[in-house]
Amino acid sequence: MGKKVYALNKAEVEAKRKAKEERRKEREKINAPKQTPRTIESTREPDDTWVDPEDDEVKEDESLDLLSDYFARKREPKVLITTADNPHTKTIKFCRELKQSLETAEFRWRNRMPVKQMVKAASKRNFSHIIIINEDHRKPNGLLLIHLPKGPTCFFRLSSVKFCEQIKNRAKITKHKPEVIMNNFNTRIGHTVGRVLTSLFHFDPEFHGRRVVTFHNQRDYIFFRHHRYQFKNGQKVALQEIGPRFTLRLKWVQAGTFDTKYGEYEWVLKRHEMETSRRRFFL
């Protein structure tokens, strides 16, 4: 019985292979253009909120929103990094490494301070962002990013944290202001999140430091990488990782500062309503 099935399959496979070969030859004959492979990215469901950054309307919106001060180069970033209550080794270490790569950041102990109180105190001291690292099972698992003084607030799931020392062949960190690369933040919400993440870094990068920080969005996962680069010639770059690495996934965005009870949610990831297709992405 099993043999019979196998024989059938084998014939089928062979037939398919031949058909494929023929098709290829035909295409070659008429010099047809090379087909693009069907990937999840290329077959992504179109989203109504895709944003063209060159559009005038978008530019005007950007010039009026809460982050416009930074992009108009008026307000330098100053970041406060803290943890959830009672942090453990890995979370603290992560905060310290994050602080290193952010350059303008400051790490403070939480001391059981409520977030709302912290928001007030930090805005008074002219901080531009608060980052709070949440932990579960003694590992960092969430990242809350609040832009001060009036929001927006983003909450990310944090995963795949790799500390500097776990990275092989890593480069030493220097105190230069890094460049930022934001890849694939296309929709309106993606654009907002991208702008908030960009504003964590100084708007005048020191190019001779050759540090580059990347937020790469792929299928709603935002990959953070930190490299030192070197142009070998006009067409080749060498990269050496500095670390740390981690991955973010957006869970919700609030228009104002942190207020989970009465605050207005701009966007929330709802699994049952929104995650209906594998080819639909929101960032």
Binding site: S159, I181, N183, Q218, R219, F231, Q235
Partner: protein
């Protein structure tokens, strides 16, 4: 008829539904038990005169039971509301239980203390921020992890970063910091016009003319036949040369390799030509 001793002896034998037996102590689940212990003096069933304190929605009541009402189960307990103030409540217990034995009054007061304390604690906790516990469904977590891995593979991060950096270089973000020979720029621009998909492979394709001859020159058959020492040489040189395109070193290595190789290789004539082409 009320016979306390008869009731207690029956209950002690093991038929009490409120009794919870443990290895060290026996406890009582009856709501009216003042201490929560299963003893003769604490048993609310086998004591016809009994008093206890209970809390209902933040208000304390003194419950008193006497032998006179034993025949009327519906009216068995006298329920007295205690004042909110702790001191006043203690005085009220004293007043209500004035001729009762000391241990009854004492136990009621101790229970009142305990209740007051936990009420204070509850109020404090309600005003403080509370942690919200959320579920982490294992299946969803697993799916997210899996998708993350796939997204990472699809991202080809290093390529994306390199492409972006080169883009910036071309746009002149870095100003005068980098000066490369003009030809390199031209090539980069040409590649951009054509197919710029894979920059990593480009350096190899750009030097095609040199490479064709180089392939002959390395002599694959020769390499196959060569012994292990040659292999080592080859790998050593290879690792030092592969990433950097320093042509002069390569030539030296090639010369060495030629010398070592067997005499039947007669390609020495071509060598000077190669040097000439390569230096371009």
């Amino acid at each position: 008829m009320q016979h306390d001793d008869v009731i207690w002896n029956t209950l002690r034998a093991g038929t009490c539904s409120y009794k919870v037996k443990t290895t060290t102590q026996d406890f009582c689940k009856n709501d009216y038990n003042v201490y929560g212990l299963c003893t003769r003096s604490n048993c609310p069933l086998s004591n016809s005169n009994y008093a206890t304190v209970r809390e209902e929605e933040g208000v304390c009541y003194l419950y008193v039971k006497t032998i006179e009402r034993a025949a009327f189960p519906a009216k068995m307990w006298e329920k007295i509301k205690l004042p909110k103030d702790y001191q006043e409540a203690l005085a009220e217990i004293d007043r209500q239980l004035i001729y009762w034995p000391f241990h009854v009054k004492d136990r009621c007061k101790k229970r009142l203390t305990k209740i007051t304390q936990y009420l204070i604690r509850m109020r404090k906790m309600a005003t403080r921020r509370q942690k919200k516990l959320i579920t982490m469904p294992r299946k969803i977590e697993r799916r997210e992890r899996r998708r993350e891995v796939k997204a990472l593979l699809a991202a080809k991060l290093d390529n994306a970063i390199e492409r972006e950096l080169l883009e910036r270089l071309k746009q002149g973000t870095y100003g005068d910091m980098y000066k490369f020979p003009e030809t390199a720029f031209d090539k980069a621009i040409q590649d951009e016009d054509g197919e710029s998909e894979v920059e990593t492979e480009e350096p190899s394709t750009s030097k095609e003319s040199a490479k064709e001859k180089k392939v002959q020159f390395v002599a694959a058959e020769d390499f196959d036949e060569s012994d292990s020492s040659d292999m080592e040489d080859y790998s050593d040189n290879d690792s030092s040369d592969m990433d950097e395109t320093e042509s002069e070193d390569e030539e030296e290595v090639a010369l060495e390799r030629l010398k070592k190789s067997r005499p039947r290789v007669v390609i020495e004539y071509e060598k000077p030509k190669i040097v000439a082409t390569k230096k371009n």
